[in-house]
Symmetry: C2
Subunit: 388 residues, 2 copies
Amino acid sequence: MTVTTPRGFRAAGVAAGLKTSGGPDVALVVNDGPDTGVAGVFTANRVKAAPVLWTQEVVGGGSVRAVVLNSGGANACTGPAGFQDTHATAEHTAAALTSANPQEVGAGEVAVCSTGLIGERLPMDRLLPGVDAAVGSLGDNGADAAEAIMTTDTRPKTTVVSGDGWTVGGMAKGAGMLAPAMATMLCVLTTDAVAGSATLDAALRAATRVTFDRVDSDGCMSTNDTVLLLASGASGATPSEAELAAAVTAACHDLAQQLLADAEGATKQVAIEVVGAADEDDGVEVGRAVARNNLVKTALFGNDPNWGRILAAVGTTSAAFEPDAVDVAVNGIWVCRAGAAAEDRSKVDLSGRDVTIRIDLHAGAAEATVWTNDLSHAYVHENSAYST
Amino acid sequence: MTVTTPRGFRAAGVAAGLKTSGGPDVALVVNDGPDTGVAGVFTANRVKAAPVLWTQEVVGGGSVRAVVLNSGGANACTGPAGFQDTHATAEHTAAALTSANPQEVGAGEVAVCSTGLIGERLPMDRLLPGVDAAVGSLGDNGADAAEAIMTTDTRPKTTVVSGDGWTVGGMAKGAGMLAPAMATMLCVLTTDAVAGSATLDAALRAATRVTFDRVDSDGCMSTNDTVLLLASGASGATPSEAELAAAVTAACHDLAQQLLADAEGATKQVAIEVVGAADEDDGVEVGRAVARNNLVKTALFGNDPNWGRILAAVGTTSAAFEPDAVDVAVNGIWVCRAGAAAEDRSKVDLSGRDVTIRIDLHAGAAEATVWTNDLSHAYVHENSAYST
């Protein structure tokens, strides 16, 4: 039920000593073809880690035979030397795969992803032997790979979505910094469908737009976010563009919900459903403004259905709405109607982990959902102690 | 050293039973003239509390003889009934002042400010007798007024700035929700200078633009923010526009720093100095992005000079800069040069309350400073428990 479920893929996850915990920290996903098509979506942060800069170029080349990923270091803000490290990792991976494989792999077909602390060089003397070990243990080991990319994640995230004779598999990591246009999130999706680059790109963009892009755990945007979709064509089946997009969207949705469920220190998993919006962009803008509002998020941590803070967050947006027309429900209780108090807020049950905030703007027929978490003591603790 | 230091002003602060603590909760500031000029700056939130909607109209009329302020309830998101409450408060205050004063006061010359919980009606049966009590105790009681507007503030905030034969006095409240274009912040400034409405308006806008507008404690924008500047002309002295603007700016700066010093649960007071910006707007955008970044703020709470998170926050902006050219210093130590690690981060001393983050974009000669706080356990605690 991982990246190795679709035919044509092998994977590995090994411990190379990058993490102080000694846990697995180098993952490898290999596409044995026959096709090597790829699509990628990357962080919108202008400060991009070296592996992002490298992998954007590789994906632009249109063919990826391997993805090498490491936890234990983001290789971000490391200057030209950091970029050289990424390049060397790709070269080393390509050479090791060429030695082990019947076919030649070029460094330009090796994507690289890194995650961990920003601003420190990777220990290449440990990473490169780790790559060798990963090449040596390639097989139906998607679960190992998913474990090796974890940082503060408490559990690996994998998914599989089945089509008619073809399959999409995936793995992801990320437990904080989830933000617009994603977050310190790495995701590798594989499929054995037959699909050209344009189809893969369209499917991946359609999927991330309504899944990862609408997860906003703490409003912070990472330097390393990468989502890759690799296609082997090994099933021989050619789904329609719509079928492929639907399957990739389902896979991304599943992984995004797993990320939220494991977000750093969160006690609530919150869906902000904006309805009655003039258009979808308005819905997303309103949902995001609520998702990022620290006063709303701390109120939810305190089991407080504080609709006034929700309305104040809505009021910071440029979306079409009249303040005196907005309705807000928390877990099904319409605590605010027409911009003022309505049903008794004591009826709201916030004892569970799942929270749904529904905001009706009464400005149109469009809607959008944004997902977030609460802001807890544990979030502060984990993020104040992470690097010291 | 308060709003009653300039000549021509009286004030009062009384307990009317709006706050559950029983502390003072109704404040009154009266301008006895001879002038009654006024300027106002209000929240940019589109969800505006009833007193904001009312007071915008009053200020537009060009004359204010009294400001009545209450804590214990924001009167926001209370619908048409809430607006009627504000109107009734102004009418009641005008009538009480007319009875007590030699001169007639109209409701249209009474500004109203409220602060406290959103979404609940004010207990008018307690507020109106409180207004009567305040009128009865008017005098040189600016300190009482400053105390009566406190909510989660731990201490009152007042200031005085002296000109040549004229003075500016002020009081403010606010200990959270400080945000762009201010925050649940009420501020009343008084001056005995002779100044027309246009001069007052220019002075107040110049002042708030570089003080309250650049304080971003938690990125949340209130429904009630109001800053008023009243001029009595009682000194007979007419400063130049520049002199008045400088004094009002100094008063606002002093009050803004007091707000930061008292921000909810904060352990750090952080100045983000952006230099080398292409223009001032870029500097403000970068400063604000860093000020709002929860990962930066939690790192500071943990005494962690995590410059990587700072760079990642800078990367989310549209300001002119090259990622490989940015320098970052924390408390004087240049931990990042040219987008990569530089001086040893262990040299950074974060043991004190004051933190200075200096970011050199190397993109021009403009600069701007934005002030914020860290994100602490106490912030989460205070804001998760506030209304329950």
